[in-house]
């Protein structure tokens, strides 16, 4: 049996590389047309080619979202676009429109089609319909529980993909036009303005329906056990630090399960890491129960900024024992920090010596986007794209 796939979101080439280096088996991203994140960076034709090459060189896969709800005018050039993307080397399209599915499957036998969650597929008969249409994988609706997912897999034997982490829609995907009516932005063509995170008024109170984020870290083993094919992380617009942390954590959890090394303590540590990059509270939503009172907010948007991310490692000078970092958040001598690498190594240490870009000794790295050097004596290989996170402020740690 194939090892379960960890599928990560890529808003641009840098994020794509981070995801793959930190352990994703495959990445998904939007092209310059027809994706449901019209306002994300999205990939040009040349970038799609680079993305596919980068993934394939690591023996990994690249999927392109083509999951808008098409209007007549969108149909004019979609076939040409698909042809271009196939020639760039894409492994699969994520599609919601059955006409597009039939076009791709009729023309390209070797390119997979994954049915988007935009279709909100909720039962095995609908899965069987799409299986007969040649669909290779279904991204199920996020409203299903574990038993329902298992039954679908058992009765269809089709590859099933499940969302495990990230933001959740309040309504069924594809069944929401709130954005169209409130902001004139078409949710089903990539313009969703996240109206479900707005605060509305009733005669007496605020009315909000914003959902907490999804976090199924605790149920990865259950999802593996029922033969889910792919675990999907949401968040094409998220930061590289968030992606490195989330993908890195899930990679470790999955590997530990397959190596029979998953302990409560191990899982708890990874869940703690995940919780530190979360900018909202999380929940399991529908997986083990009906979503209820506790899965949403009642006071409008609830996003916290995360200041744990201290910076990205540019390189490590093994002779001088200096890490060169691109700083993102204030830190200082005495802070307890953790360096983590794409391969999953971590080094926890206290910042003892700190230098500015000209290698003058300083006490505090005050300015985001500046270059700093941190002294660290280690034999562990520190790869490009390693990152440093704060564990404990100097004022709080007694080490």
């Amino acid at each position: 049996m194939k090892k379960i796939e960890l599928l990560a979101p890529a808003g641009d080439l840098e994020r794509l590389k981070i995801n793959l280096l930190y352990g994703a088996d495959a990445v998904y991203f939007g092209g310059y047309k027809y994706g449901l994140r019209a306002n994300a960076t999205n990939f040009s034709k040349e970038e799609i080619k680079q993305a596919c090459n980068f993934a394939h060189n690591l023996n990994k896969k690249a999927y392109l979202t083509l999951n808008i709800v098409f209007h007549n005018e969108d149909m004019d050039s979609v076939e040409e676009y698909i042809d271009e993307v196939v020639s760039a080397g894409i492994d699969a399209f994520i599609v919601s429109d059955p006409f597009i599915i039939s076009y791709i499957k009729n023309k390209y036998k070797d390119v997979e089609v994954h049915l988007s969650t935009q279709n909100s597929t909720t039962n095995y008969e609908a899965v069987n319909f799409f299986k007969a249409e040649g669909v290779d994988r279904i991204v199920l609706a996020r409203e299903l529980n574990l038993t329902e997912i298992k039954e679908i897999i058992d009765k269809t034997k089709l590859d099933i993909e499940v969302f495990i982490h990230g933001a959740m829609c309040t309504c069924f995907s594809g069944r929401c036009a709130l954005s169209n009516y409130v902001t004139n932005r078409d949710a089903n063509r990539g313009g969703c303005s996240q109206v479900c995170r707005f605060s509305f008024k009733t005669d007496n109170n605020d009315f909000t329906m914003a959902t907490k984020d999804l976090n199924l870290a605790h149920y990865i083993k259950d999802l593996i056990d029922i033969n889910v094919r792919s675990l999907k992380v949401e968040g094409r617009m998220r930061s590289i630090y968030y992606l490195a942390t989330v993908i890195g954590a899930y990679r470790k959890i999955i590997d530990a399960i397959y190596n029979n090394q998953l302990t409560e303590e191990f899982l708890s540590r990874e869940e703690q890491i995940l919780s530190r990059v979360a900018n909202r509270e999380t929940s399991t939503h529908y997986l083990t129960k009906e979503a209820d009172l506790h899965d949403q907010y009642y006071t409008g948007r609830n996003e916290a900024s995360n200041q744990d991310y201290l910076g990205q490692v540019i390189n490590y000078d093994e002779n001088q024992k200096l890490i060169k970092i691109y700083e993102r958040n204030y830190f200082e001598i005495g802070d307890k920090v953790e360096l983590f690498t794409p391969k999953g190594d971590t080094i926890t240490f206290i910042v003892e010596k700190l230098y500015d870009e000209d290698k003058n000794k300083i006490d505090i790295a005050r300015h985001p986007d500046n270059i700093y050097y941190i002294y660290l004596d280690t034999d562990i290989k520190i790869d490009e794209y390693s990152m440093i996170r704060l564990i404990e402020k100097r004022s709080n740690n007694n080490d």
């Binding site: 019209a38 306002n39 808008i68 709800v69 098409f70 209007h71 007549n72 969108d74 149909m75 429109d97 059955p98 006409f99 909100s120 597929t121 909720t122 039962n123 095995y124 008969e125 609908a126 069987n128 319909f129 609706a141 409203e143 299903l144 039954e151 679908i152 309040t170 309504c171 069924f172 594809g174 069944r175 929401c176 036009a177 709130l178 169209n180 009516y181 409130v182 902001t183 932005r185 078409d186 089903n188 063509r189 990539g190 313009g191 109206v195 707005f198 509305f200 008024k201 009733t202 005669d203 109170n205 009315f207 329906m209 529908y286 009906e290 979503a291 209820d292 009172l293 949403q296 009642y298």
Partner: protein
């Protein structure tokens, strides 16, 4: 052109008296986004009572595994009733049409997703006869679908538009959060856009309805010019007397179409007085790229 009415009453006399003979009845437990549902028995009774009417049934919820076997039995029952068509959202129904060899026609009705002629044709080739066009596309896009697709479009012309559906119990959650007595509905508004919504909940989830009546009367002439076969009028949340007057106006216009140049202007004037002037997205394109 035939008018399909989605009524709010069990007794259909007042509609039939006004020359309506085609109805859309949402099936209880298997339909969503409606303020009125009909059990299969109620539909059978209606069918027995009114011999000469056409009935479409709506089965538009997202079906889950445990409902599939009962759904099959329901579909077999419906197939015996000489029903004109089933409005469907979930592809399980299309799958069962073939598997169970059902003769009842289907209406592709995936709410906001019926937006282009090529996908309409895809469904037509799969044996779907009708398509209930999205309310979020323009009049020109609808006309394009009418002219370019082989499917028979059903254009929703007058309704309080349903705009979103959630499996969550959002109304219950609201009342619980504020420790208020739980009701099944609530009205909310957005300060910036000044849009108001009627939100209500039943056992299948929560439906959002725009609290502004969509009046598509203005596009009726062009629909007729382009040989549209069906328009759909939904009565949910509309005062029954007003709804009946609206039907009378439309019937009068249909009977006088192309006979009198003033009839269109008079018709629009009357309908605007009755229903307001919200033409929804018929003349307004949505955007999706923000510069």
């Amino acid at each position: 052109m035939d008018i399909i009415v989605k009524p709010i009453l069990d007794n259909l006399d007042s509609y039939i008296k006004n020359d309506i003979n085609t109805f859309l009845l949402p099936l209880a437990n298997y339909s969503v986004e409606s303020t009125k549902y009909y059990s299969l028995d109620a539909i059978k009774n209606i069918k027995n009572k009114y011999k000469n009417i056409n009935i479409f049934i709506s089965i538009n919820k997202n079906i889950v595994n445990k409902e599939l076997s009962e759904l099959q039995e329901i579909l077999k029952e419906i197939d015996k009733l000489d029903i004109k068509g089933i409005f469907f959202y979930d592809l399980a129904i299309l799958s069962y049409k073939e598997k169970l060899n059902l003769k009842t026609d289907l209406v592709w009705s995936s709410t906001h997703m019926v937006t282009n002629y090529k996908t309409c044709d895809y469904y037509y080739k799969k044996g779907v006869k009708y398509a209930h066009t999205s309310k979020e596309i323009t009049k020109d896009e609808i006309i394009d679908i009418i002219n370019k697709s082989m499917i028979t479009p059903i254009v929703e012309l007058i309704s309080y538009p349903t705009i979103a559906f959630s499996k969550r119990k959002l109304v219950t959650n609201y009342y619980k959060n504020y420790n208020l007595d739980i009701k099944d509905n609530i009205k909310v508004f957005d300060d910036k856009s000044r849009q108001k919504f009627y939100i209500y909940e039943d056992k299948n989830g929560t439906t959002f309805i725009l609290n502004k009546l969509m009046n598509g009367s203005k596009i009726l002439k062009e629909l007729l010019d382009n040989n549209t076969k069906y328009i759909l009028l939904k009565e949910d949340l509309i005062d029954h007397d007003i709804f009946i007057k609206c039907i009378k106006n439309i019937n009068y216009y249909l009977n006088n179409y192309n006979k009198d140049n003033n009839s269109y202007n008079n018709f629009i004037k009357k309908q605007n007085e009755l229903l307001g002037r919200n033409t929804n997205f018929f003349y307004r394109k949505t955007i999706y790229k923000v510069k």
